[in-house]
Symmetry: C2
Amino acid sequence: MIRTALLAFASSFAGYSACGKGGTWIWYPGDYALWRGNDLQARRIEHGGGYPVFWATYAPHPLVDFVKQVELDAPETVDIAWEGTCRIMGWGAKDPLPGVVSNRYVFPAGKYTVVARVYSQGRPPALYMSGPHLKTDSSWTADWRTVVSGTSGEPAPPAETRTRLDAPGRRPSEMRLSTAPRAAAKVETIRGNHIFADFGEETFGFLKLKGVKGKGRIRIVYGESEPEAMCEDFDGPDQWEYVEAGLEEELRLKVSRGFRYAHVIPDSGVSVDSVAMDAELCPLRRRGSFRCSDELLNRIWDVSAHTMELTTRELFIEGVKRDRWTWSGDARQSYLMSYYLFGGSDIAKDTLFYQRGGDPLVMHINQIMDYTFYWFMSVWEYYMHTGDRLFLEQIVARMASLMDFAIGRLDANGRPRDRPGDWMFIDWAPQPLRNHGGVTSFEQMLFVESLTAMADVLDELGRDGAAAYRKRAEVLRSEIVPLFWNREKGGLMHLLRDDGKLDGQLTRYPNMFGLEWGYFDAEQRQSVLKNVILNEHVMGIQTPYMRFYELDALCGLGMHTNVLDAVRSYWGGMLAEGATSFWELYNPKEKGLEKYAMYKRPFGKSLCHAWGAGPVYLLGRHILGVTPTKPGFAEYEVRPNAAGLSWIEGTVPTPHGEIRVSCRDGVLSVKGDGHGTGILVLPGNIRRRIPNKGSLTIRDM
Amino acid sequence: MIRTALLAFASSFAGYSACGKGGTWIWYPGDYALWRGNDLQARRIEHGGGYPVFWATYAPHPLVDFVKQVELDAPETVDIAWEGTCRIMGWGAKDPLPGVVSNRYVFPAGKYTVVARVYSQGRPPALYMSGPHLKTDSSWTADWRTVVSGTSGEPAPPAETRTRLDAPGRRPSEMRLSTAPRAAAKVETIRGNHIFADFGEETFGFLKLKGVKGKGRIRIVYGESEPEAMCEDFDGPDQWEYVEAGLEEELRLKVSRGFRYAHVIPDSGVSVDSVAMDAELCPLRRRGSFRCSDELLNRIWDVSAHTMELTTRELFIEGVKRDRWTWSGDARQSYLMSYYLFGGSDIAKDTLFYQRGGDPLVMHINQIMDYTFYWFMSVWEYYMHTGDRLFLEQIVARMASLMDFAIGRLDANGRPRDRPGDWMFIDWAPQPLRNHGGVTSFEQMLFVESLTAMADVLDELGRDGAAAYRKRAEVLRSEIVPLFWNREKGGLMHLLRDDGKLDGQLTRYPNMFGLEWGYFDAEQRQSVLKNVILNEHVMGIQTPYMRFYELDALCGLGMHTNVLDAVRSYWGGMLAEGATSFWELYNPKEKGLEKYAMYKRPFGKSLCHAWGAGPVYLLGRHILGVTPTKPGFAEYEVRPNAAGLSWIEGTVPTPHGEIRVSCRDGVLSVKGDGHGTGILVLPGNIRRRIPNKGSLTIRDM
């Protein structure tokens, strides 16, 4: 298992703020996330062919103005580097500044505005300056609307940067994930001249063929399961590709792939001695941990963490074999899990930037209405977990324009409904969800949360406009239960049809979220629990995706023991099937090869899917019980709940350190992160302040 | 003089329509113009430093869906090539199509929609297919809003293509201008180890240093004039750069530059034997010609044509030394000139695409309000000269959105006025133009023309919406003379101030355009002629840019003889100063080094400026007298006017051939283009049909 990673690019949490001593590279916020994200998504192959995404795709801006007010007592020599072409101007300076002639530039003394205009096509524009006083960092602004334009009222956002990109040679365009050589657990020769390798567990990286002889093609079939890699049909395994054997004795595949098994099929006249790989490492370091008296839960946590590490690449992707894409709904869960495993990270921020994309907007994020709404919630949750106010300043205009887009698609009653071309995903359900020809309770609730996130961000930044969003949220929220509640069935119905009648479908989704977000009075809550959540006749949830929300909601009701039982059964079931990472979907009734099939394809199911890693979140959030109550853990609560386990212990990362919780032999001990105001909440709502130094220990629990 | 050019990329007029036998590469309309245009603009250097443009710059779209309905009787094997990553789907096909596995692809029989989704970052997405029936051409659509979205009512535009890009290896991203070796007219060693070369006339290309020895830097100073190249100040000459002497004996500069003189200054320890260049050739072929009994006018036509050829690169640029940029107002004149020299061309189309850029719009084209308006006019004029209806279909949505932008910036009376950040250029005038704090008559007139062009395009395509634009144009047009006419001064005033009073400035600009566009009654026309145009006390025009419009307007009044005199004097004046290409600005009073200075810089003036080439247009349009009266020369008029010359002869290109006019020894002969309906218009408005075969000859003229 790959536990640690070389940080080839910046990922340390301190990266949010401006640089320390020297300058750092800066760029227009989100441009590198888009650029790297676009290429990341394009690495998907399917049945031997490239497979680009199907949503509108945006390029980074080719020309950006970087601007900073300076006041220099004396002329200052500054090291400069840039991507592409750069011109430096001194607006309001006494004399025009010299054209850039080298990587050393002398800024004259005086008080003026430095405008560095950088053009670059192919790689996003970026700038680096480092001098005694003048240096690039996030105190610069960056804008593709050049400074002469003055045409938009929206102020230019702060430039984006990474702490570690602190030298001219550490260009953002050259950031790469680190790799480490890795041997296969077992390599055999099969079917004459084929090589079949098992890397022992799901992994990710560049396959290497050793001892390649002869001239011709070699077909590589990757498998997450042994039968997938064994299958030589062209339409069978999801990932296969050809490489040309030629001069080199060792061939390294050009694109890193997710797999456990590799099957090497040389043309006749070509032979391969063995295979290995360069594992491409997760750029983030584990900071969260969990251990308890139940080894099954420990193993579930480990495999969840491994699943998260494999799906954490340049961005959070949803699966390592398929799609290798970044989906906003899936990503919301990756973010939440990542806060309990890695803490807040540049990967979360970059994924949020990529998801939002550029302008003009022509469709929902990933084309999915719910995925637009999850994005708003994810921005706020990122802020709660990181306190990264700079990001809010960088993203707020794009939030507002996405909200304009969403509002422009509401129906005449101000309710979200699908327009032609929109997809309402909600979940991969075992029976079709009736989503069309009306409005769904589920989407209404997500939109209320989106409006609230939008308003919260505006308030946090001290900007105008929050009230209108809040008003809209309140009106819509107040309508949902009256519109969708069915007294007979005792829960919220799924669809309100255009004829004003409720469709007969009762689903768990709106009821779970209704519990989570406090839509119900006490009587309704009991009814929902009994008639929906615990009612086996209501269609069950098979994806870990929606199980995440279901179990989260149950914890909210204090049903931690039931939740742990469900985790043991559902995730434990996958382990019993031999899983080394968690799956896109699990149905214990599927046997043999059935369990690999999905989307009408024999190996269509992803066996390493980010949304499978929910226990990392559930155990940290609800068993260790740690959650921020003010942005960036300025205040936080710890509500441990051992849920029948004889001992638990673990850590939850915050921007300032780790919070450590242990409960063993009747002794509960909590160590804070040394920074925020931590409150331990004990049964009966007893609240105790966690000290900034040392631990708070409670005996006789 | 470089007369002919190898056509390294497609420029023949036939290129507008779909391909012939095989397929051609296709892409989203305008993406390659943007991509090449962005890099073209970035080649400017000034005082040794890079100098990017200052307007909002747009990238091509990284992901495009190419779509075509097919009906194949039998499976068809097709050659395929693409940039980046491609996936092919058959929407409505019986079975899913196979993933792309090679450059040969078998499409199944049946009736379905082929969707080829291409992703490429760095180079725009492009696609090539060539099969017996299925092939890529402009009958495909291209859209960055993927076909699943269905979110916009605007239909996908036809794909863009070039006839010559008709093989998998002829990729649009690899189009380059052709080059040809060229020796200097004179090379000398000066100041010890410097080499000084004179190429005999203004030229364009890659300088080559021969016999480079030693290791160190070599400074290259380019000059359009000898004093510029001789000047070694860092802030003196506009274009200079360093190259590193190293291993190679021959060094070819990486970027092509416009210059006549090159001054090579090696570091001590470095020596250079000689210099030459690879001239980068104009991609278009001369098809227009003009000769007459006045050798001065012939020379003026030749130097104008040379100026046009030098400023015709991947796009029309405004000057070869500075800015090397594409300015929409300058470009309008380049288009008009080009129609009389090259005929309609892909360069004109690409320049129009580049100028429009992408979305969202945040400023006027080139940041200049007038330049937005010239663009609308240029689209219509391009169509008149080419009949390229496909281009209208490709650009119409972008016209409409730019018009929305312009309308969004009108004042409360529906009149264009500058907003913060806008630039009203109008002209480089010897005295400041009072443009701010009110509305200018000049901009109102340009906007009327823009609205008319917008309406004409919609009507031509049979689309809705023209009436509203036409109504707006009529209302505004009817207001202009009443608002701006000053009875005392006998002409249109420049500025109507916000306090409702006319500013005291009387300028030629609105009066010229008012004459051109028929704003005046007979009495007003006489007044404008006497009190403005022929009034030496009204500020004169010094740029060839506005002289173009002034002389055009005078020809409209039948003052051809005065116009030829003005051409002899003004352009002849530049020739007398030694010009080998025409200048950005000419003032006969400037002597010695003064004539090279501009923008407070000693060599700031561009000596090869597209707008200097006006005579190519004036002589073809008004002396040969050829003009289209229906789109694409479906109908055209020939109104020759020898204007006192004892003989004239020449050709004007049309999409179908050349129209030839000669008038010599009292015999007027006109040969049509063999296609359109040509009318010869003789003095007294006598109209004669030009035959489609043979010539129409009129004796005793």
